[in-house]
């Protein structure tokens, strides 16, 4: 049945993990869970506004909540540092499969030094498969601007990987 509570539960079950992953990029791990909860509270209050697909809308809410200063951004704003910290935490929870650890190290190495907004562009398209228009909605820029960021980030990434890769993509464990 189309009971609002069921619809909301379904929304939560499908998208909580995505929303939290994004929140983790914006604030520290402590604040991120509260930020994700807050995002879904907004979604419940405005259930009839939630479009299809809902994810870009949800991530946009998350981003606005951070912008409204209700959540403290911790330890600098550098995304790559936050990703490194997360990679470590995730490794522990997942039980550290060696291949994944190596791949993460490599990803972090190539992202280092890139602009935050470019890293964010890569993440939105890679983690969530958002189209440029959807991702642009999340970060609050035009689809064209977003495409440029994504292109720039991908080119840098390709260059970093091609001529003299710092690590093999999926290197053999010795």
């Amino acid at each position: 049945m189309d009971d609002p509570e069921r619809r909301f539960t379904d929304l939560y079950d499908r998208h909580y993990r995505n929303v939290l992953a994004y929140a983790l990029l914006r604030v520290g791990p402590g604040g991120a869970e509260d930020l994700a909860s807050e995002t879904f509270l907004v979604a419940w209050r405005r259930l009839a506004d939630v479009p299809d697909p809902p994810l870009p809308w949800l991530l946009g809410v998350t981003r606005n909540l951070v912008r409204n200063q209700r959540f403290r951004r911790s330890r600098g704003d550098e995304l790559v540092a936050r990703l490194a910290e997360l990679a470590e935490l995730t490794g522990f929870v997942e039980g550290d499969v060696a291949e994944r650890v190596a791949a993460r190290q490599e990803a972090l190495a190539v992202l280092k030094g890139m602009r935050d907004r470019d890293v964010e562009a890569l993440i939105l398209s890679s983690w969530y498969g958002l189209t440029p228009a959807e991702a642009a909605h999340v970060v609050g820029c035009s689809a064209r601007t977003f495409s440029v960021r994504l292109f720039r980030a991908r080119r840098r990434l390709t260059e970093a990987l091609r001529p003299n890769p710092p690590f093999a993509l999926f290197r053999e464990q010795t």
Binding site: F8, D13, W44, A48, T90, F92, V93, I123, S126, L161
Partner: protein, 422 residues
């Protein structure tokens, strides 16, 4: 980007899946409960969907039913007398002329018998058409909702304190490394324990509550009082004993009576947000015209967007409308529409609802949808053979003695004032 995009895969390895899956398990029940304790107000959409063609009810009240409107209590269309013993706020249900007496009482030996779904629906259409056209300032309903408990509360104060301490340390650049490592170990052990507890709910129980709603038919404020008569019911004594063994954890999500007033709160059917409360009285009373209207609503519905087929849509939307303030003519037409798509429906006579009222059940097998818990499910509605009114709607899972979800429509009908019960 193609399927095997190495850059995408590389960045994908940084997605903290383990972390988020863990948080999801821990936070789910508290997050859902917290959100649902607060009201949701979809007024933005109303800006677009409030029809210009106005408020037909006022016109109706002024003409055709002027005689009825003059009564102090306007003919309450009571489905059935809603057992005052249940009523936290019911000050005695008023049985209206034309409403049915408790059919269970006159039919104590009722036993379920298979019936022809199409014939049953056509019979329901006939009786529904004869019901009087109600009128009143508010559509009142008293609904008991029951759901299967699938999660145990796992976030206790101790766990929360540990989590806060650990995350604060993580956010602190000057924290001692060894201390952080030690905290991390404790935290992850607590997470593992919480997840283990949450996954196996070793008993079968349901959570019930009563919600009373006054839906204004004239554009005034609605009122909703939820969280009344909150009850946990166990499938058996053995289930209750298992719960006690666990130390009797609290299962009611902290729900307590909560009154919400405002307008407008909801849509009659969540899947059809182009359809407002005001539209309900104007729905066609002719089968073909109603079918056409439902088909066009389906085209723009969230059900279609979610990949549900027309048959499933008709069932869901049909149930939404049958419990809403539609006219007897529309109700009859709706039963005829459902009869036309009844090939997959099973019917049973002599079935009782949760209040012991006897009725006719219609069942359709439910496809398991992504995100829906459980295995093989059945959607079922029970209606009163004498009036065609819906008594109960539920989703049952094979082998589970408590319904996954159930709404029992204890009382509904038109009343004149907020707070007045039908």
């Amino acid at each position: 980007m193609n399927e095997h995009d190495p850059l995408k895969e590389l960045i994908g390895t940084l997605r903290p899946d383990g972390f988020t899956a863990d948080a999801y398990e821990r936070r789910r029940s508290a997050d859902l409960a917290r959100a649902m304790r607060s009201p949701h107000e979809p007024h933005r959409l109303w800006r677009f969907s409030m029809p210009k063609r106005g408020r037909p009810l006022l016109a109706l009240a002024g003409t055709a039913v002027a005689g009825l409107a003059a009564a102090v209590i306007v003919v309450p269309q009571v489905i059935s007398d809603g057992s005052p013993a249940n009523g936290a706020s019911a000050r005695g249900a008023v049985a209206a002329p034309g409403s049915t007496a408790n059919p269970a009482a006159s039919d104590p030996a009722a036993t379920p018998r298979a019936a022809n779904g199409r014939a049953v629906l056509l019979a329901a259409a006939k009786v529904a058409a004869k019901e009087p056209l109600g009128e009143g300032a508010y559509w009142y309903s008293r609904v008991r909702t029951s759901r299967l408990i699938t999660d145990l509360p796992v976030i206790d104060a101790e766990f929360e304190a540990l989590r806060k301490e650990y995350f604060a340390k993580l956010d602190d650049p000057d924290a001692d490394r060894a201390e952080v490592e030690a905290l991390k170990k404790r935290y992850l052990a607590a997470v593992a324990e919480a997840r283990r507890r949450q996954r196996d709910v070793p008993f079968t129980a349901g959570l019930q509550e009563v919600t009373e709603t006054w839906r204004s038919m004239r554009g005034d404020k609605d009122r909703e009082v939820s969280g009344q008569d909150v009850k946990v019911t166990f499938a058996s004594r053995a289930d209750e004993a298992k719960w006690r063994e666990l130390g009797s954890p609290r299962l009611d999500d902290g729900r307590r009576p909560k009154t919400w007033e405002g307008r407008p709160k909801t849509f009659p059917s969540m899947s059809n947000q182009g359809l407002t409360w005001a539209d309900l009285r104007e729905l066609p009373t002719d089968k073909q015209r109603l079918k056409d209207r439902l088909r066009s609503l389906y085209e723009v519905s969230q059900a279609k967007a979610a990949g549900r087929d027309l048959t499933r849509y008709l069932w869901d939307t049909g149930a939404d409308l049958l419990v809403a303030p539609i006219t007897p003519g529309t109700r009859a037409a709706l039963y005829r529409v459902l009869a036309d798509s009844a090939s997959g429906l099973k019917a049973q006579t002599g079935v009782q609802d949760a209040m012991g009222r006897s009725g006719i059940a219609l069942e359709t097998p439910g496809a398991k949808e992504d995100g829906e818990r459980g295995g093989e499910v059945t959607h079922r509605m029970i209606f009163d053979a004498a009036s065609g009114r819906i008594l109960q709607i539920e989703t049952l899972e094979k082998g589970v003695p408590i319904p996954l979800w159930r709404q029992t429509f204890e009382v509904s009908g038109y009343v004149d004032r907020l707070g007045e019960v039908a």
